[in-house]
């Protein structure tokens, strides 16, 4: 039989999906946002505000207050006052009611929060609507349940709250990270000073409005905005009992040095460079789908993104062909469009960093393959990218890119892949794809990563602890484990 020519499949040429943008007329945003301290929005001492823009259009959305050391101090004072006077004295079941109320209010305003998250951060509306906002509400619901059951969570250990928690969160899941931080802190009886990232402060400030509406006693949660130095003064503040940080490993290391010798408790959730491993017996089509979601979820701005793919050599050609094919069906563009799979890169700075890594990969001799999709002229966008023929020694295989870039390596044996998967300074997450149950258990016990997903990837649930090994940080968030960093025994 003469072999027919096998053409690449074409998508979105004869049947294009009409734009389906989510409406934005239902949201309310102020022109300017101040600091949320002691239950009120107050002007920053600096008198300065900075712009926050929509990364998909580069248009100005609102102005955000730049806090300074004095503001940090008054936020901490407010938190301390609330802790001493009301929050630590309140019966736990009353605390739970407030947390529950916040969860309900997030649900009620889910649509508005999703749209603002997408406008401010560039992530697709599908993800903010289906993942970020519902998960944020679920974290509050979940920890509301624990508030009056701490004695049962830690029997005979007499758990006690710490006091004031200083929390610094990143720009990749702004509202969700705020929920991860605030919900367990409140459930365990602590008060909070939270600083969102400077590029994505808006949903945290909307959360401040929700907190006001919930009637939470003044000062229990304070939200202050600004750049790096604000976080630094929180870390250095003498009256903070606990620092919780999610962000880059570089900053995490600095924080750990800064608080050395103090009695501050610390949790760090830092970078990652996860290995996603496909064995030859895996359900290949579903594995390919999982690899795609593992790296392109949230434009790859995910600390646990599956950014290193290890594929067994016997199925490598098939997997790579399928990855290339699937890349063509990812819709890149307007984050507000309900059909968009990959939205905008969060900031110009991050875009430059990703593009720099693309250059490094090519210069180092890896084979770059990108989707043929067109990307908008305005705004910060990157085509979904594969790097083939990479080795463990490539920089793109070692360093966290935090973008839609997948480095693909092949392997031959199980020993080889375990060694290579662990051969990285990070250890946040990993993925294993195989039809064989025993192999899954073997791999999970040998992979040095805080989370190992089997035949799935990027699954988050408030009941499940999340956190890292090695340079990916320490301490767990979520689940019963997520209570511990906010308690003393």
């Amino acid at each position: 039989m003469a072999k027919k020519e096998i053409k690449k499949l074409e998508y979105f040429t004869d049947w294009k999906y009409a734009p389906a943008p989510e409406a934005t007329d239902h949201i309310s945003l102020k022109k300017q946002y101040d600091l949320f301290i002691n239950g009120k929005f107050v002007k920053p001492n600096s008198g300065k505000h900075f712009d926050t823009i929509n990364p998909a259009t580069e248009e100005h959305i609102s102005s955000i207050a730049e806090a300074n050391e004095k503001d940090v101090d008054s936020a901490v004072k407010a938190a301390r006052g609330a802790y001493d006077k009301t929050w630590s004295k309140m019966p736990a079941k009353e605390r739970a009611k407030y947390i529950y109320r916040i969860a309900r209010l997030i649900q009620e305003r889910a649509r508005e929060l999703s749209v603002i998250e997408t406008l401010d951060g560039g992530k697709s509306i599908r993800e903010s609507r289906d993942i970020d906002v519902p998960l944020a509400a679920n974290h509050f619901f979940y920890y509301a349940g624990w508030a009056d059951k701490l004695e049962y969570a830690f029997p005979n250990r007499n758990p006690k709250s710490l006091g004031v928690a200083g929390q610094v969160i990143p720009w990749n899941f702004p509202l969700l990270m705020a929920a991860w931080k605030i919900a367990p802190a409140l459930a365990t009886g602590n008060t909070v000073v939270l600083k969102p990232a400077e590029t994505t402060s808006l949903t945290a400030l909307k959360l401040a409005e929700i907190i006001q509406e919930s009637g939470l006693p003044d000062g229990v949660v304070n939200i202050i905005t600004g750049h790096g130095p604000v976080g630094a003064s929180m870390v250095n503040h003498k009256d903070i009992n606990k620092i919780a940080f999610t962000g880059s490993t570089g900053v995490g290391k600095w924080i750990q040095k800064a608080i050395a010798g103090t009695d501050k408790k610390l949790t760090l959730e830092l970078g990652g460079k996860a290995a996603n491993i496909i064995f030859e017996d895996a359900p290949i089509n579903q594995a390919v789908e999982g690899i795609i979601n593992g790296i392109f979820f949230n434009q790859g701005h995910v600390c646990c993104a599956g950014s290193r793919l290890f594929v067994q050599e016997s199925v490598a050609d098939e997997v790579i062909r399928k990855l290339k094919d699937r890349l063509e069906t990812l819709i890149v563009g307007d984050p507000l469009d309900k059909n968009t799979d990959i939205g905008a890169i969060n900031s110009k700075m991050q875009l430059n960093k990703i593009n720099e890594y693309l250059k490094i990969g090519v210069n180092d001799g890896a084979e770059m393959y990108q989707s043929s999709c067109s990307i908008p002229k305005k705004g910060f966008f990157v085509r979904p990218t594969l790097f083939l023929n990479t080795s463990q020694s490539h920089r793109i295989s070692q360093e966290e890119i935090f973008g839609p870039v997948l480095a693909v390596q092949t392997f031959r044996t199980i020993e080889e892949v375990i060694e290579k998967a662990n051969n990285i300074p990070y250890g946040l997450s990993a993925g294993v794809w195989t039809d064989k149950g025993s192999r899954i258990f073997n791999m999970t016990s040998k992979l040095r990563a805080g989370v190992v997903w089997a035949n799935t990837y990027n699954k988050f649930d408030p009941t499940s602890p999340f956190g890292g090994y090695k340079e990916s940080g320490f301490g767990r968030e979520g689940g019963l484990h997520g209570l511990m960093p906010y308690l003393k025994f």
């Binding site: 096998i6 499949l9 074409e10 004869d14 309900k338």
Partner: protein, 300 residues
Amino acid sequence: MAYDFKNSPVIDQVGIEERVARFNTRSIKKGSKVQALKLALNMIDLTTLEGKDTEGKVRQMCYKAIHPHIAMPGLPSTAAVCVYPTMVKTAKDALKGSSVKVASVSTAFPSGNSTMQIKLLDTKFALDNGADEIDMVISRGEFLKGNYNFVFDEIASIKELCKKYDTRLKVIFETGEISTLDNVRRASDIAIYAGADFIKTSTGKIGVAATMPVTLVMLDAIKDYYFKTGIMVGMKPAGGISAAKGALQYLVMLHETLGNAWLDNKWFRFGASSLANDLILQLEKEVRGVYFSKDYISVD
């Protein structure tokens, strides 16, 4: 072609269901919706497969197949009508001069529990009466016993007969009976390698008919075969698809799995009886901006 059907690729059900859920979040609006509604109408195998079928009923359905909704000029006809072998002649006469094809079920439809001899005679009768397409069923009992070669051979024999008449063959698995997605994949591989021109989910005669997860597994099998051989195979989900919204979701899945080349009734069909009128209702809504009474749409 050597292929061990025991080693068909494994399927992860959770992964399949998640992928389907993603297809279902696609929002199809305006022009793209009208285009898809018309395409879906043009992909229907308008079906009547009942004990009480008569020539009269079949003739009425054939007229509907050619003229789905006279109030809306420019609508396509359906792809085919699907009937029992004894009705093929009637349908063929009624559809004379139109582009609508006649598909006949065969091989002791719907159970397939008969001898090979009778299955061949059944098929030959339909072909001699002018059937353009044959929708055969596989022996599910033999399949579940692991007699994959038996199933392969019966498909190959029917295919051989169809080839003589230059008629396309659809192979029905009755996925509700073979139950697991692993089995659906295996049946797909068997049928495709045995020469099926189309693979089809269901007879419509049992409770569980076409579902999106089952259809996705079959589309993946078609895709894998295409990338091995360059040969295209068609897909026909049948039974249980009666709403336009569901049909659009199937089309999104088809489109994003197999691409533009399959967006044609040569490669994709809906086996359905009531879907056509819901598509028409939605098309009218796109034109008028409001829904109107179903009494304005003919029932045949």
